[in-house]
Symmetry: C2
Subunit: 207 residues, 2 copies
């Protein structure tokens, strides 16, 4: 398949949320104009985004809400369970373990890891906290799909290297740094403090 | 000033964190190579990123850690207090109100807003929850700098329009949708579920 831009994938996620709202309200069809408005784009872009994945909708009738929602869930890989490990049982790790949206979308947290002996053996919202020394052995046995890095920047690259070597192909990184990974490993970095600093920068450097 | 790319600002945030680690360890200088490694970039890019803002460092000696940290805090607008309002006293709003990193970086939450009469008048980690009907009046009186939107997608654009009309110039949006704002208003969208879907998409659509 053609390489799909991150911005397209983000819009697919937005369209899906909108469609699910429509499903909840029992609406049968949606126009590309309505999807465009929600996605902050044009109806031509909506049609282009969807055209990568097949032929959807009927000219003049719009899209069937349940059909397009089902297709997008499949495209986004939401029709199955994804097994997630959290590395770092601190505040961010705890917030993630409690986050209900994970489970609803098919992301099952199978274990958490930490280096702190006071935490190892305990639980994070019901999830076992294991010694990070076990990481490679556990990954080989449990086959998690996704790792969430919720540790300080200092050790993040070393842990990522271990995860990659163990075979993990998708990582959500909360450490405030850019991580290096081979091209077949997808790493997404999320950091709220950095987003806030982007805002304070914009406010400080306005014309 | 020249328009600075978002990616540059993100790297400045990363450099600053790294410098603060170095400060904590009592180190006096850092090389552009070290900054580059942390920022996932090249030392030429580090020098370019910093050159937008002045002349830093000495050839062969690297950068003074305290000087560059101070300069970056100023560039990122972290030398002052930013007043933040949170719109939406749900789970995300509550998590944000508890987040200590806000305060540490000079972001003070002055109020939270909600439409739910059961919540209005209560407190979110010590922060007053006010009726959203008061939003415009309060913004005119309190002059917050930044608004955080922690509400569902459906009402987000309407609330953003009210904030913009009231004079807010910087918004952190957690609603899973693209919001439209005038060019002098900076909106950053953060959504963890969408980041996760980006990963499940990547895993599903690998070659």
């Amino acid at each position: 398949m053609k390489r799909i831009a991150d911005s397209t994938v983000r819009r697919l996620s937005i369209y899906l949320r909108f469609l699910e709202e429509f499903e909840g309200r029992g609406l049968a069809t949606v126009s590309s104009d309505e999807l465009a408005r929600r996605g902050g784009t044009t109806s031509a872009q909506v049609r282009k985004d969807l055209s990568f994945f097949g032929s959807f909708g009927k000219r003049g009738l719009g899209y069937s809400v349940p059909e397009l929602a089902t297709a997008l869930r499949e495209i986004l890989g939401l029709g199955r369970e994804w097994r997630v490990v959290i590395v770092g049982a601190g505040k961010i790790g705890a917030a993630l373990a409690q986050y209900r949206g994970f489970k609803q979308r098919g992301f099952t947290i199978v274990a958490a890891y930490d280096t702190n002996p006071d935490k190892v053996g305990g639980r994070l919202d019901g999830i076992e906290i294991r010694d990070i020394a076990r990481l490679e052995r556990d990954v080989a046995a449990d086959h998690p799909d996704i790792a969430v890095l919720a540790i300080p920047a200092e050790g993040a690259q070393a842990v990522l290297d271990r995860l990659v070597y163990a075979g993990i192909k998708a990582v959500l990184n909360f450490a405030p740094m850019s991580l290096h990974a081979p091209s077949d490993v997808t790493v997404k970095t999320v950091n709220m403090a950095m987003e806030l600093e982007g805002l304070s920068f914009a406010l400080t450097n306005r014309e």
